[in-house]
Symmetry: C2
Subunit: 203 residues, 2 copies
Amino acid sequence: MAMVEKYGRKPAEQGSRRSEGFVLWMTGLPGSGKTTLALILEEMLEKNFGRYAEVLDGDEFRKGISRDLGLSKEDRQEHAHRVSYVGKLLAKNGVIGIVALISPYKKSREEAREVIGKDRFVEVYVKASLATCEKRDPKGLYKKARKGEITNMTGIQDPYEVPESPDILVDTEASDPEGSSKMIIERLVELGYLPRAHGRISA
Amino acid sequence: MAMVEKYGRKPAEQGSRRSEGFVLWMTGLPGSGKTTLALILEEMLEKNFGRYAEVLDGDEFRKGISRDLGLSKEDRQEHAHRVSYVGKLLAKNGVIGIVALISPYKKSREEAREVIGKDRFVEVYVKASLATCEKRDPKGLYKKARKGEITNMTGIQDPYEVPESPDILVDTEASDPEGSSKMIIERLVELGYLPRAHGRISA
């Protein structure tokens, strides 16, 4: 196996495009708007910046890599760990990973920052009150939780640990999905993750 | 959640670069040379084609996404499933995924082809006789298996189902790692996954 040593692994940063990848980690209560924003952002990033983004949606991910995991604290943390690992692989290859994951535990989000690397990790707190999320109830999960048909619902039976100092905060009660998405993009430009656009950012 | 419908998911093939991603799935006995070839190929692809490749090494992967899995048939299949899922995400974003995974079961490899999509999946059988692999024994695993310290060793206690019609076959007893890697690259050019190079392919 001498060849392995001879060739070795080259540093992830070698290529210029590679260094542009990052992960937008969107955390928030169920129904706060994470997936909605993720899909709009995916489109805006391609349209305005010519960048490819991959939405890593928690629910979708559970059908693929995390199909063995449930909703216990331990399983949620393992789930977040796997998502962060995939996000890292995408980011180091120049892709923008947009994670839409409740990720209720501060510890999980901190681990994700470590796995992905702090220079490539952008925590977005998608904020909406429990009352609003429960009213939206896009998947009918709050209703089920109130009936006791679901027993691990974040916000009802399970805790949601509010991010203390997210890199970006959007309040989806205060602005509509397009407005929130534009705000995130503008903040990404400010933070240096995206270049200043030549014109107005369009949805 | 009307926005989700309005924006929806765009087809993965929309961008031109995206359509260039694929997964090189290298299967073979432990010690056949999968990881060695993967690392050489990663370098050759960047040097000769300006392409980014990500090595998805089975052992490395077990420390990240598959840290809960063992070596039973069921666990190996789940492991391969997760690797294929990550490969798919990379490939659809224009990255070349180079999988170095024993993947001893035909069923797993067929599933990987389905998950990744047959137009993006290239099966490479890294061939070497058991006797040669055992002589190389780069990780000392064959020795441990012979002593009974490992009980799920592919080739010793566990089966390896030889690919019947791999897209590419390299015999690592017949050619050295650079030669085998060049052969794989040449075959990828023939298959249309890579453009015809302007000069000689260099290692």
